[in-house]
């Protein structure tokens, strides 16, 4: 397995980094909800612009995340392509009008409504991308569990998340070791074999991986039990910080965007903004 490009915490001095994890988590959740509900082009463009500004402030550079952006672009392109392939007239249905720009072939024509629908669905995804990436790139993983606990998630679940973050590199290393050892013994996963053989071969890697993981679970849970994990209703966090003025401002801002965004979206009685109907 080649080294996978995974987005990581990137430590830089910036106002976004200084915010507590809790503020960033609330911001991210509010942003996700807003982008999920609304289909209003104006709201989505505003969110995208605000996201871009925050990205600028955060000192994270485009090249830090270029791989991730590439993946997102491929995903979006494919998604749009398949929507068009299956339902070239979907925009017409949604916006209840039909302006043909030019025909391609058979039932595939390009309509203004379809293009507008594609624009909206694309905006919906990309207006969350900067915020999601910043959330990962600017939040110290050690602080994450305490942030979850702060917004009311049970600390056991929060601790599970931080264990996951802690053990991803270990599991990855182990996967690589096992897979190389098995390849040295002649097990091929490269795609030259048939699918079924490939699946069977993958068991040769997965079984040792799962066995060692179950072992690890035993060791770690014994260690935690010995230290009295889960005895009390609450726990304290080494990395927890008090919310400062800026944190409250960020939380307030995110909630304001959420409320105003939804207000504007539903002001015309539906989640779609329909320029075609207003023109009539």
């Amino acid at each position: 397995m080649a080294r996978v490009a995974i987005l990581n915490y990137i430590k830089r001095p910036s106002p976004v980094h200084e915010l507590t994890g809790t503020a960033k988590l609330v911001f991210f959740l509010a942003w996700s909800v807003a982008s999920m509900v609304t289909f209003d082009t104006r709201v989505l463009i505003c969110m995208l612009l605000i996201g871009a500004v925050i990205f600028k402030i955060s000192q994270i550079k485009i090249r830090d995340i270029s791989v991730v952006l590439g993946l997102a672009a491929v995903f979006l392109l494919l998604n749009n392509f398949f929507i068009y392939l299956f339902t070239p007239e979907y925009g017409v249905e949604v916006y209840e009008s039909r302006n043909v720009l030019f025909p391609i072939v058979g039932r595939y024509t390009v309509t203004a409504q379809q293009l507008f629908y594609h624009l909206n669905i694309t905006l919906k995804v990309i207006c969350v991308v900067p915020i999601a990436l910043l959330f990962i790139a600017c939040t110290d993983p050690s602080e994450f569990a305490s942030s979850l606990a702060r917004i009311g998630v049970s600390y056991r679940a929060g601790y599970a998340v931080s264990l996951a973050l802690r053990y991803i590199p270990d599991v990855q290393r182990e996967y690589r070791n096992i897979s190389q050892a098995q390849q040295a013994r002649g097990i091929d996963l490269s795609g030259k074999d048939k699918l079924f053989t490939r699946l069977k071969n993958s068991v040769a890697i997965l079984l040792p991986l799962i066995m060692s993981s179950i072992n690890r679970i035993e060791v770690v849970s014994n260690a935690m039990e010995l230290r009295g994990f889960g005895k009390e209703k609450k726990r304290t966090w080494y990395m927890q910080r008090k919310l400062q003025k800026n944190d409250w401002l960020a939380i307030g801002f995110a909630l304001a965007v959420l409320v105003i965004g939804l207000g504007v979206t539903f002001s015309n009685g539906s989640r779609y903004y329909n320029p075609f109907m207003e023109a009539l």
């Binding site: 995903f75 299956f86 679940a157």
Partner: protein
Amino acid sequence: MKKLSVKSVVAIGIGAALFFVLGKVAIPSPVPNTNISLQYAVEAVFATLFGPIAGILIGFIGHTLIDATSYGPWWSWIIASAFVGLVIGLATMKLNVEDGIDSKKLIHFNVAQVIAHVLAWGVVAPVLDILIYAEPIEKLFAQGLMAAVANIITTGVVGTLLLLGYAKTVVKKGSLEKED
């Protein structure tokens, strides 16, 4: 909610890490957002071994981490992943794989996983996609069908083999014999 035991907390953490790592080495399939992915086999095995709550959280945390480190979370599919863990975990609660495994238990496991995947990718994911992203139904069901078939095959083949392998390593009750 019932309190999670220490062991389940750790199983969720490490299970989610496994889910994440395997999700990143997925073999892409021709329909977007779907992969021939091994992580569901592991999720199914962990849900069988550690129960439904572990299943839900492994799917939810693992899938959220995968999405958040690639292109923002796609919540409908994240919830479907969690749902798979829930159904398999619930359906296999009384299976007790630790006491050894036979063909009846394997059939039980496979029926559970087929139901879980059909419901998750055929119903939960497309319905949420319609609610959240208002995508066209035809495309969603093609995607859902593709994902369900791919995941049923991987979980069926890989998951079954993993359970068999696991059961072989567990020392069974009464396996010691008195020497003459």
